[in-house]
Symmetry: C2
Subunit: 343 residues, 2 copies
Amino acid sequence: MEDQFRTEIADLGEFGLIEHLTKNNETMQASTILSVGDDGAVIDQFGRQTVISTDLLIEGVHFDLMYTPLKHLGYKSVAVNLSDICAMFATPTHITVSIGISNRFSVEALSEFYDGVYAACAKYNVDLIGGDTTTSLKGFVISVTAIGEVAPDKFVTRAGAKENDLICVSGDLGGAYLGLQILEREKKIFMEHKGVQPDLQNQDYLIGRILKPEPRVDIVEWLQEHNITPTSMIDISDGLSSELLHICRKSEVGCILYEEKIPVGEETKTMGMQFNIPTSTCALSGGEDYELLFTIKQEDYEKTIRNSDITVIGYITPLDQGAHLLTPSGNKHKLVAQGWNAF
Amino acid sequence: MEDQFRTEIADLGEFGLIEHLTKNNETMQASTILSVGDDGAVIDQFGRQTVISTDLLIEGVHFDLMYTPLKHLGYKSVAVNLSDICAMFATPTHITVSIGISNRFSVEALSEFYDGVYAACAKYNVDLIGGDTTTSLKGFVISVTAIGEVAPDKFVTRAGAKENDLICVSGDLGGAYLGLQILEREKKIFMEHKGVQPDLQNQDYLIGRILKPEPRVDIVEWLQEHNITPTSMIDISDGLSSELLHICRKSEVGCILYEEKIPVGEETKTMGMQFNIPTSTCALSGGEDYELLFTIKQEDYEKTIRNSDITVIGYITPLDQGAHLLTPSGNKHKLVAQGWNAF
C-alpha cells in the first residue's frame, strides 16, 4: 500500500479504472464473442449464444437499509442484473446470488431478502441456480450474476449506432431519482425527530421507481416480435446523459438530444417542482430508472412508434459534431455525464 | 432487524442456512439441469452443457492482506472458482471478476491484483469476460463467477457415490493448513516485534499451498482421457472430513476412510511435528488444499492408480453403516466435520 508511485483510483474514475485494468486482457477461447466493456459479455455455446452480466452491491454505497425493505432489495438486486441482459437484447434465463452478511442479520431477515429474489425470478421466469453465502465483517454485500440467451449474432452492443439513427428510450425517466430524494428527506426528518412517521402518501410511483425497478424484458420481446433490431442499446443505470455518451463513445458518433422530448411522468413533474429540481436534470443525471436507451434505423421509425411506451428523443450525428442537448428555447449545450459514480 | 421471532444464522450454520433459503426454489427453465447445492450448477445450452460456479471473498474473513500479496490474491480468487468447475468434471472456459475496494487502494495495488487474475487465466486458458468495479466502505470484496463446459450429461455431482465405490483424492493434503499456521505465526511475531523480518525460508511449498492453490484441471483431463468417469466428485475447500461427509449425505451412503492412506507431503509431516499438530488433523479438518475428492467404480481401480498423483483412501459403505475413520491401530471413529465454517 505504500507505493512510491501511487495513483489514486479517483483520478482515473470508474471507467478509466476498468480500461486501465483490462487493457491487456486478451481472450483465448474461440467461444468468446464479446468480452469486457458492454452491459454483458457474449459466449458462443455451440452455435447459440449466451450473455453474462454481473453486479456487486454494497451496503452504504448502493443501498441504505434504513429505507430499503429487504424484500425490495432482493427484488432489485435481481432486477438490475436482468436489465443488463435486456440491454444486450437478450432474454434472461438464470441467475446466481451470493451474499455476505454480518451476524446482525437474522434468518428471518435473510428470508425476506430471498422472498424478493424469488419474486423477481418468478415474475421474469428466471431460475436461481447457485450462489455463495458467507459472513462479512461489516455491512451487507450482494453479488448477482445473470445469464441470458440470444439468437446467434442477434445481441446488441453499445457500439453499433450510425449517423442518422434515431435515439429511443423506453418508459419515463427521472422518477427513481426523485423517489430517492423523498426517501432521503424522510430519513433526515426521522433522524432528527425520532418517532415521526415518514410521509410517503401518494408517492407510490416514485418510491416504487427507486425501490422496485423492473427490467424491460417486455420492450426487448416487443422489438423482437416486430423485427426491429436496435443498432445499439444500453440500460439507464447512471442517468440518460452518461448512458448516451457511452453509446456515442463506443459507436464513435455524436448526437442531438431534444430536452423537451425526454419522457417524464406526471408524478415526476409534480415532485420535481416540490424539490425545485428541473425534471430534465432528474432524467439526464439521476439514474436508476433501468429503462432501455437504444438507437434504431430511420426505416424502423414507423414500426417503433406504434409502441406508446417508446419515445424518440433525438438522433445520431457524425463524431465531429459532438454530443449535444437542444433546449426548448433552441439553446445547444454540450452533453456532460453527471451520473452517479461509484468512486 | 427487530424481529420478535429471531433465529440466529449461527444456529443454522452455512449449509442449514442455504437449505433454508433454497427449500422453496423451483426451477422453471427447461434448460436448468442442476440447480443449487453442488459445486456448480449445470445449464443445457442447445444440447451441450455449461457449468456455473460463484464465490464471494471478503477481506478479514477469507483473506488477510497483511500476508497475502495482492497478486497471489488475484490468482487464488480465480483458482478456487476454477476448482469448483473441475469438481463438476468440467473444463473451465470463462470467468467474471467483480471487486469492491476502498480508497486506501491505489491503482498500482489493483493492477497487482489483476496481474494475478490474468496469470491464472493465462495458465488455465480461461477468458476474463466481465465484472463490476465499485467502491466499498470498508475492506476488499471479491466476487468471481466461473463458467465451464462439459459434454452432455458427463458432469459429476456429489450425489452419485455407490456402495463399494473407491474413494480417491488427488495430490496431498494438509499443506495449506500448515502454510496458514506459518503465516499466522509470523504475523504475530511481526505485530509484537515490529521490524522483525518473517522467517519463511524453506517453506515455499507450504506457503505456496495456502497462497497459490492450483485447480486440478490436469486430473479432470487425465481421467477424461482415460475414460474414467467418477461416480461423485467435490473439491476440498473445507477439509477432507467435511467434503467426504457432503458426498455421503448427498449420495445417501456411508464410508470407511483409512487414516494412514491419506496422502501427506514430506514438508507437511515436518512442519506438523514443529507445530505439534497431527498431519491427519491438518488433512481432515484443515481445508484450502483445493485437491479433488472423488469416488470411482471398483472396475476403474487398475486404470486409476496408474496416475501416481491419485491415491485411494477408502471405500463407500451402505448408509446405515455411517461414515468412519479407521486409524492405523485399528480404532474406528465417527467421521465429523470440523472444517472451516463461514459462520
